[in-house]
Amino acid sequence: MTAISLLCVILTELCSVAGQIFFKHAMSQPEGGPRAKFLGMFLSGIAVKALAFFLWLGLLSKFELSYLYPFEGISPVLLVLAAALFLREKMTLNLWAGVILISAGVVLVSAS
């Protein structure tokens, strides 16, 4: 994997996590609340997700799926950190243990 492929992978992950934060913000809007807030969050989510999608499609044409896909496993760590920071979500011991196991699994998969 070259430096530019790796950069594409990291950019894909960042866009993907940002999209999730936007989506959660959108779905947390109270029902009957201002529609503009929901739409703004939702469309921002779609936009960064779309960027992640096309970066990913480019990567898929160059590598095997079972090799490439597990890189996405960096995302649980990025995501729980982002959720704690931007959504003030609580972390439990189980969640940390699970996320660390998942990420360790991902490191092994991508090293093989």
């Binding site: 959108a26 480019g58 044409s61 996405e72 189980n94 699970g98 996320v99 196991l101 998942i102 998969v109």
Partner: protein, 145 residues
């Protein structure tokens, strides 16, 4: 209402409707989202294999019907995901959704004929263990309800 008048024997049926329908359960929606997400990855890989290999953005993949099927599966996955996010915290829902990291390599082994070396098998097992650690207390919680 009209049909229950016509068939009074079915009048007891609405009693079970009082409970929220299982399909609307946030965890069921997470599972639906996972399955569609894995399917979309396989479909897009199938499509990307047919496309040109020269660009860093995969726009040429849009010529493939497989890629469009993948996009459709991705939209279905997103719909289920948004439904789940209404009631689940993002960090829990996302960690459960990480089972795709085991499901995708397993199905690309089964369906695309890709080879999985031993190290990758161990990694897949760790991912499954991680999801299980997060899911177990949630399953106990659901049983109590």
């Amino acid at each position: 209402m009209l049909s229950s008048e016509l068939q009074p024997t079915h009048a007891t049926a609405p009693v079970t409707v009082q409970k929220p329908h299982w399909f609307g359960n946030a965890y069921v929606q997470v599972v639906i989202s996972i399955v569609f997400s894995a399917a979309s990855q396989l479909l897009m890989k199938r499509g990307a294999d047919d496309s040109v290999h020269d660009a860093w953005l995969g726009f040429s993949g849009l010529h493939s019907g497989w890629v469009w099927l993948g996009i459709f599966a991705m939209i279905a996955s997103l719909a289920a995901w948004l439904h789940a996010l209404r009631s689940l915290p993002l960090n829990v829902a996302f960690s459960l959704a990480c089972s795709t990291h085991a499901l995708v390599p397993l199905s690309s082994w089964l369906l695309l004929g890709e080879v999985i070396p031993l190290k990758r098998w161990i990694g897949i097992a760790l991912v499954i263990a991680g999801v299980a650690v997060i899911a177990r207390p949630l399953v106990k919680l659901e049983e109590k309800l």
